[in-house]
């Protein structure tokens, strides 16, 4: 017993010591900024007194429209990402070769490049007289008027966030024991039945993190909509950005941010509910 006390004490002391930098980090870069957003969001710009006006700003028709459009486009891009990434992750999983991790790397490599750079590149491609239309006219095909439409924004979101869907999906899929799949076949299940009853349910933790990893940045982005949507399509991210950058109104910007945060939290709770938990990679 006498031996145990100091060991235990040491352990606790070590843990505290180790945790200190992270504690400072969280305080400095998460808690304080969050408190500031809450403070600005609930105070008036001119008088500094407590008010709900900044929050209520969301109910103006333009802002509601921007929020609604954001939700729609984010849902669509998340869905498209899932649709593209799932079969791809399955293929990568089934490759089982040495080249397999290299292939995964190829697909997530765009993540290593600056996001702004990639989006600007797409702007150049999709522009009215951009690379795509030059190419189409060369083939005597009609030009595509994609730039500055919601379609271009969704395209940008899918391109930008696809790796965030592939990675968690691939990670859960490779972890499924080949013999579990063999067992399903062994018991008489065909490929489709095995997928529906075994593979997909076992991959749900990956689906859930993939969805959050794509939906949340899609909902809050302003860069993609700025560049690929011109000033024609306003998302909630753009509205907030304008409050801060153009109008220099930190109070309204914070108020709208808080509303958006509530949306993010709600959507994450909703998604997490479908993941039956079991202590797996839960985002919430």
């Amino acid at each position: 017993m006498a031996l145990f006390v100091p060991v235990n004490f040491m352990k606790r002391k070590n843990t505290v010591l180790l945790a200190t930098p992270y504690g400072l980090w969280i305080t400095g870069f998460t808690i304080i900024p969050l408190l500031m957003v809450v403070y600005y969001g609930f105070t008036s710009r001119s008088t500094g007194v407590l008010t709900l006006d900044n929050i209520k700003l969301i109910s103006t028709p333009e802002n509601l429209k921007a929020l609604w459009l954001s939700v729609q486009l984010s849902l669509l891009s998340t869905f498209l990402c899932l649709l593209i990434a799932y079969p791809l992750a399955m293929i990568l999983r089934n490759m089982k070769a040495k080249s397999n991790s290299f292939m995964v790397m190829l697909f997530i490599m765009p993540m290593w490049m600056n996001s702004l750079l990639r989006i600007v590149a797409w702007q150049n491609i999709l522009e009215k007289r951009g690379i795509l239309n030059t190419f189409l006219s060369f083939l005597h095909l009609p030009a595509l008027e994609i730039i500055n439409t919601p379609a271009a924004i969704v395209f940008g979101m899918v391109y930008d966030f696809l790796p965030f869907m592939i990675l968690p999906l691939y990670n859960t899929l490779v972890k499924i024991d080949e013999n579990v799949i063999n067992a399903a076949h062994d018991l008489g299940a065909g490929n489709f039945y095995t997928f529906i009853k075994i593979i997909f349910p076992l991959s749900i933790p990956g689906v859930v993190s993939g969805i959050t990893m794509v939906f949340v940045p899609s909902l809050t982005t302003f860069v993609i909509s700025d560049i690929l949507g011109g000033s024609k399509v306003l998302l909630i991210g753009n509205v907030i950005e304008q409050q801060f950058q153009k109008l220099n109104n930190w109070n309204s910007g914070s108020g709208l941010s808080l509303v958006l945060m509530v949306f993010v939290l709600l959507s994450m709770t909703l998604v997490a509910k479908y993941d039956k938990g079991e202590g797996r990679t839960n985002v919430l």
Binding site: N179, V180, A183, A184, H185, D186, G188, A189, Y193
Partner: protein, 358 residues
């Protein structure tokens, strides 16, 4: 036992990246037989089982089931079920859903499935576990669920890949009896993979000893133990003294310079052979009464018997006996003629594979 060939493997060859893993293997399995594939790690046991189960297609050769060629049939269309080494339970389903999986695919009625689950759980001594999740069960319990999940489908053949490999000794022995009981109760053919020779001897009707993709010997446990065909089998099944010797003539063999009478005939005269003598078949006698004599170099108490090493004529003889002779004592070695097993020196390719292993 009915002498009806249920499964036949004909000239099966399997390669991985150019390496031959199974080489021209021929084997038949009779109805109701308990056949064990036994061999060291990497010898191709799992591969053979996977070829029977349909998870692997052989590069050459045919798999015949009940007279029909099923070489190209996918696993879900074969009338056999597998119990995988690491259970491979469906962790997102309850025990009941795991067991019902195959029955639902066969579109059995709700009542039938319910009854079957109850029956199967009773059979593996886990009644009342219907609503538990696999993760909440111990290793042994999970393995029994894997067995229950397979047998409810009433397969003609059950393939088991080291099903007891992950269990501790006591549980393993319990499960061995349980499996034999199940087999007798259900009348299914078992193809069983293990690298545990004791398990193989206890459970099997027939043992197939494999090494490096070749069959070394097929026979009853008694055959394999008492009359190993070559040094590999002798060494792999139980402990033994394997000694290079010369067959002087029929019924007389010269081992390490001394003539021992034996019962084997037909090996020719003055032919080099290998002899196998089991440690428990060696009698330690007074030095002057032994065929040869030597000195005890080590003594270990093993519970049931003493294990001794005797240095005689330049060879360390392994001896098991209930009587002990202290280290350093002078002893004579006597072996009854029928306890000396004579084997040809390896000649053919198959046997060379075994010689390499030694």
């Amino acid at each position: 036992m009915i002498d009806n060939k249920l499964i036949e493997l004909v000239n099966i060859t399997k390669r991985y990246d150019g390496n031959i893993v199974i080489d021209d293997l021929n084997l038949y399995i009779r109805e109701n037989e308990f056949l064990t594939l036994l061999g060291p790690s990497g010898c191709g046991k799992t591969t053979t089982l996977r070829i029977i189960g349909g998870f692997e297609t052989p590069d050459e050769g045919k798999v015949i089931f009940d007279g029909k060629d099923i070489t190209k049939l996918p696993p879900n269309e074969r009338q056999l079920n597998t119990v995988f080494q690491k259970y491979a339970l469906f962790t997102h389903m309850t025990i009941a859903d795991n067991i019902a999986f195959g029955l639902k695919i066969k579109k059995k009625s709700k009542q039938y499935i319910k009854d079957k689950i109850k029956y199967a759980l009773k059979l593996v001594n886990l009644d009342g576990y219907e609503n538990r999740m696999p993760d909440s069960l111990s290793g042994g319990q999970q393995q029994r669920i894997a067995i229950a999940r397979a047998i409810v489908n009433e397969p003609k053949v059950l393939l088991l890949d080291e099903p007891l490999g992950a269990l501790d000794l006591k549980l393993r022995q319990d499960m061995q009896y349980e499996l034999i009981r199940l087999k007798n109760e259900l009348g299914i053919t078992f193809v069983y993979v293990t690298h545990d020779q004791e398990e193989a001897l206890t459970m099997s009707d027939t043992i197939m000893v494999m090494n490096q993709g070749y069959i070394q010997q097929i026979g009853t446990p008694e055959d394999i133990y008492n009359e190993p065909k070559n040094a590999f089998v002798a060494d792999f099944i139980g402990e033994s003294n394997i000694i290079s010797a010369t067959m002087v003539r029929d019924k007389l063999v010269n081992i390490l310079g001394a003539d021992f009478p034996c019962v084997d005939i037909g090996f020719g005269e003055n032919k080099p052979v290998d002899v196998v003598i089991r440690p428990e078949d060696i009698d330690l006698v007074a030095p002057q009464n032994g065929t040869i004599s030597g000195r005890v170099t080590s003594l270990i108490f093993k519970g049931v018997h003493y294990e001794m090493e005797v240095m005689a004529n330049g060879f360390e003889w392994l001896v098991h006996s209930t009587d002990m002779s202290p280290v350093g004592s002078e002893v004579g070695i006597h072996v009854d003629p029928f306890d000396i097993q004579i084997m040809n020196k390896p000649e053919s390719e198959d046997e060379k594979a075994s010689a390499n292993e030694l």
